[in-house]
């Protein structure tokens, strides 16, 4: 009897959980597959309706394997990227031309390299996808780039930027990255903070993992080159919830500016606690855009006001493609992760169209990718010779608009930033 009760309760729990997922409905896998198959079905009747008009191009279905974290600490970002990808393909009805349909197959990396590898194998070898798209975690990017090279499957990285190596001199010809890498943000921010904003002493705070160290180092390098001095470097462990111990390690009176690289929950906690401990608003904060993502701004509230960020995307950018993008997102301000997914989808869709969905010659698709030249929501977009994106960088500041909503204001634009940028 008791066991029956157990079973009932458990089933209830699952049902609750499933029905509760309405919030991220758009991101759930079954929904996506439905959309995709619908697209196929819709495409089919049109063919039948006009069977004789011209020599019919054969119907082509392109399968894209999307690898992002759906569980674990990076789940929120993965969900955003997935949503961005869907947003773009929904806007073109999962179809390019009449005969070419797009099918997305999602898999969860859980931000774990081992799981990502296993899932990549499943997508490529079992689901037989034509190429891979996604990757949020930098630590997943390297082994996956290695796998893509071995399996000779194109991989388009949409977020992970902490690992310059995958688009470095020894990069695999199968790997492209639409997101920016460390060299495209911090060096500019460091230089900008010293030269343009005129601050001369800084404290550097970043999470204690390789991307954190890499970013802090990159910032420090150009900041000091431009005449600044870093008085302290503080690396709280990943997953720190209480930044009190770290904020207590420097005296705000000793520094002109605070450089901080945090994201997600860490960003919220850090910015709020900086304010609670009375460091801000007196002291200015500079950061990569992750610190003041559009999604986290409401949770930060007033604490984030005045923070200056260097970013590759902000919802307020004035481009026609961005207006479309914001419209598609029901007018809500998209964050950089949503944009990353959207942009990645846009880039691969162009390349798919270029080769007519024919993946028998993978090289043609890679060439098409390399030749990308499009007007993205974040401005002009292309790749350099090593598959790394070349795009604009924006200096933005958190402000409150007339309705009291927290948003960004663009202070400056640096165009055509490649991974080899120097002041």
């Amino acid at each position: 009897m008791r066991k029956l009760l157990v079973l009932l309760i458990l089933t209830g729990l699952v049902l609750v959980a499933c029905s509760g997922s309405a919030i991220e409905e758009a991101a759930t896998v079954p929904e996506v597959e439905e959309v995709a198959t619908e697209a196929v079905e819709e495409a089919a009747p049109t063919e039948e309706a006009a069977p004789t008009e011209e020599p019919m191009a054969e119907a082509v279905n392109v399968k894209i394997g999307v690898l992002n974290p759906q569980t674990g600490g990076l789940a929120a970002f993965g969900a955003e990227v997935d949503k961005g990808i869907q947003l773009y393909f929904e806007s073109i009805d999962y179809a390019i031309n009449d005969n070419l349909t797009i099918e997305l197959t999602f898999a969860d990396t859980a931000a774990s390299p081992e799981q990502a590898l296993e899932q990549a194998r499943r997508l490529v070898e079992q689901e037989e996808v034509d190429f891979l798209l996604g990757i949020v975690s930098s630590s997943v990017a390297v082994p996956l780039a290695q796998y893509a090279d071995e399996a000779q499957v194109p991989l388009v990285v949409t977020v992970a930027g902490g690992t310059p190596v995958i688009t470095g001199p020894d990069r695999s010809p199968y790997v492209f990255r639409t997101s920016i890498t460390t060299g495209q943000l911090e060096p500019i921010l460091g230089w900008y903070t010293a030269s343009e904003l005129g601050y001369s002493t800084a404290v550097v705070l970043a999470p204690d993992f390789s991307a954190g160290h890499a970013r802090a180092e990159a910032f420090t390098e150009t900041f000091t080159a431009a005449g600044g001095e870093v008085v302290a470097e503080i690396f709280p462990p990943r997953g720190t919830t209480d930044y009190g111990p770290f904020i207590g390690q420097f005296n705000p009176d000793d520094v002109d500016v605070i450089y901080a690289y945090f994201f997600g929950s860490e960003a919220i906690a850090f910015v709020q606690q900086l304010n609670e401990f009375g460091v801000t608003p007196d002291k200015p904060v500079v950061s990569p855009g992750f610190l003041t993502e559009a999604e986290v701004l409401p949770a930060m509230g007033d604490a984030a006001l005045g923070v200056i960020s260097a970013t590759h995307y902000a919802p307020v950018l004035d481009f026609p493609a961005n207006a479309d993008f914001v419209d598609l997102n029901s007018g809500a301000a998209p964050g950089t992760y949503l944009e990353s997914g959207y942009l990645g989808a846009q880039v691969v869709a162009e390349a798919i169209a270029e080769v007519g969905g024919d993946f028998s010659d993978v090289q043609a698709f890679l060439d098409a990718l390399a030749a990308t030249d499009l007007a993205s929501p974040s401005g002009p977009f292309g790749f350099d010779a090593r598959g790394q994106s070349v795009r604009s960088l924006y200096i933005i500041q958190v402000v409150q608009d007339d309705d009291g909503n927290y948003t960004h204001e663009v202070l400056d634009v640096i165009e055509n930033v490649s991974q080899d940028w120097s002041p």
Partner: protein, 316 residues
């Protein structure tokens, strides 16, 4: 002898898999054999000696790191690097084991967790040497009697080693040392009164399970051609501990089945639903409510045989 023959027979059965299943499945099964075998070794510690370790991925990961670091940082040839990897795990086990075995139950669980977290912390923090949480890619497989670069080749390689380790485990489990582990599980004083050194017995269980884990850790690093801190995370340790419990402690084959089953199930579930952790958790709950004795208890006859390890055989 009978159980050794069963292992060999199962090995031969599995050996036909490459003719039946696709390359993808073969790869997945290779992974399953690796983690299943690890769980089987852990059964000696968790099931036999009843020492619930939640830090045994330490040895699985350390051997992998040993190989990867020896190859990438010190240009050691691959086979000697394998030796270095195994040695590294063994040293760690001999260091942690004698301290940890003084604890019982939850205290043992916590101290193994603490040791595991220390090692994990070291590998993630010492970025300049270990490459931090980005791990070490680009580890190539060694040369062997046959080409193990291919999926099929590596499957046979894994199978061969897994059979060898399993035979060792079974012989060990039935040996005087093996059954003495069944003794330390719940009667310290009695074992001591019979002339057994409890701490050394428990250390043996700890080290043997670690050694088995280390060997499968080597297979794992060559399978993925990559090693990251995930290989020595507490989550992996927990998965292995649960595999032993779900499989049915002391049965050896139960944990193997559960360990490999969970790998395959998890991979399949991830492909089916985003809610896979929930389904997996649900399976754990259902299995403990409806099968408190683990998978092994599903086959009462076999269970009787294995649980009462020697009963049937002594009179033969």
């Amino acid at each position: 002898m009978k159980r050794v023959l069963i292992v060999i027979a199962v090995g031969f059965l599995l050996a036909v898999l490459p003719f039946i299943v696709s390359g993808y499945w073969l790869g997945l099964i290779t992974q399953a054999v690796i983690l299943g075998g690890f769980a089987m070794g852990l059964d000696l510690l968790v099931g036999f000696a009843r020492m619930p370790s939640i830090g045994h991925s330490t040895f699985f990961g350390l051997s992998g790191y040993g190989v990867a670091l020896a190859v990438t940082r010190f240009d050691v040839a691959i086979w000697p690097a394998v030796g270095i990897g195994l040695l590294l795990s063994l040293i760690a086990a001999l260091l942690f084991g004698p301290l940890a075995v003084r604890m019982r139950g939850l205290a043992f669980l916590t101290i193994t967790l603490a040791f595991g977290q220390l090692t994990w912390g070291l590998t993630t923090r010492w970025s300049s040497f270990t490459n931090g949480e980005n791990g070490i890619p680009g580890i190539s497989r060694p040369s062997f009697l046959w080409d193990i670069e291919t999926v099929v080749g590596y499957f046979y390689f894994t199978l061969l080693i897994a059979i060898a380790i399993s035979i060792f485990i079974i012989i060990f489990a039935e040996s005087p040392v093996g059954i003495s582990l069944l003794g330390v599980r719940n009667s310290d004083t009695r074992m001591s009164a019979l002339g057994y050194n409890i701490h050394s017995r428990r250390t043996i269980a700890f080290v043997v399970a670690a050694a088995v884990g280390a060997m499968y850790g080597i297979l794992n690093v060559f399978y993925n051609k990559f090693i990251g801190p995930g290989s020595l995370s507490w989550q992996l340790s927990a998965q292995m501990l649960l595999s032993v419990v779900v499989g049915g402690p002391v049965s050896l084959w139960g944990p193997f089945l559960a360990g490999s089953g969970i790998v395959i199930l998890k991979t399949m579930l991830i492909g089916t639903t985003q809610r896979w952790p929930m389904v997996l958790g649900l399976l754990y709950v259902v299995s403990v409510v409806f099968l408190p004795g683990g998978i092994a208890s599903l086959l009462p006859k076999v269970r009787a045989r294995f649980e009462k390890m020697f009963r049937g055989r002594v009179t033969e």
